[in-house]
Symmetry: C2
Subunit: 189 residues, 2 copies
């Protein structure tokens, strides 16, 4: 294999990864990021977010050429018309996606070549909370479970270490398990 | 206006809403829901979730005809190729979408006709946490801010009350601010 090919592992350019880590270690101010979304109500449970700009490494990012649009909805039983996954399902996706990317990046850094990462995630909710029927149950999921199947050219022990390290560094896992302060401003017209 | 038209407010069938609330009050066991997603790694930061089935009101839902597919990615600066919003951006979308739907439903129940609900949400992150460079910053957002613009046929005070009630009942706001226990299982091959 060529030296170039060797630096790409699991689809991740590890030379670039280590260069990025070195740069941020040397200039910690470059680590300040801000991610953003705007959302607009369409009708009923249908609303749409637009995601494009973000702040990273000292300035607004200009590499994204197109905006992403995400449609949310609710199924019929929750009074919607299935215009998209519901917000709680989006949260499950965010969690699974973040843990998966963390697993892939950690494996790349540790010279583990992965062949498959699959997961199934579930969230249990008593909807009496969100529907305002009961104060005795919470609004969100009581618990979330995620089952990973990870395959690669390493021992089971090593693969489990990779998942554990990924869990310890996942941004969304941190937020979903520990919570984040959220400030809400309201302008009316 | 006809009686039928009167029951639809903000795109929400309020007759059906109140019937659903009455049914769940009478039979609380129908309030047990489980939402689900499966995720598959594709390459690098690119992975995809599939969302279709869920459990609701005593059985698996069969009303959704098609699955939703969501692609996650990372921008170039985070070693991806922009195959989709990143997981932290999906979390911002989940939060904005859930608060917006809660606002729309609460307004419908309180006979407030809305004309616009827009929001801008930001999350501030020091990426040294998620990149494993520093243990002194958290992995996720330090804080999230969301600015709503709400318009409708009610006083500013009433519109603010609607937003406040929505905040108190939003499933994703609860999860993002308070956290949820997450269990991870790993199978290797």
């Amino acid at each position: 294999m060529s030296a170039v090919a060797d630096t790409i592992r699991n689809g991740v350019d590890t030379d670039k990864m280590f260069a990025t880590l070195d740069l941020i270690k040397a200039q910690p101010e470059l680590a300040r990021f801000q991610f953003r979304a705007t959302n607009r109500w369409i009708a009923g449970a249908h609303n749409r977010s637009t995601i494009k700009d973000f702040y990273a490494a000292g300035g607004d990012d200009t590499t994204r050429t197109d905006a992403f649009e995400l449609d949310a909805g609710e199924p019929a039983i929750l009074l919607g018309t299935d215009t998209g996954p519901n917000p709680a399902e989006y949260l499950l996706h965010a969690l699974a996606a973040c843990l998966t990317t963390s697993i892939v990046y950690v494996a790349a850094a540790r010279k583990v070549r992965l062949t498959a990462v699959e997961s199934a995630v579930t969230g249990d909710m008593d909807v009496r909370g969100a529907l305002g029927i009961s104060d005795e149950v919470r609004n969100g999921f009581a618990r979330i479970r995620i089952a990973f199947k990870v395959e690669g050219d390493a021992t089971a022990e090593k693969l489990r270490e990779v998942v554990e390290r990924a869990r310890k560094r996942s941004a969304v896992y941190d937020m979903v398990t520990n919570g984040v302060p959220v400030g809400i401003d309201v302008e009316t017209a």
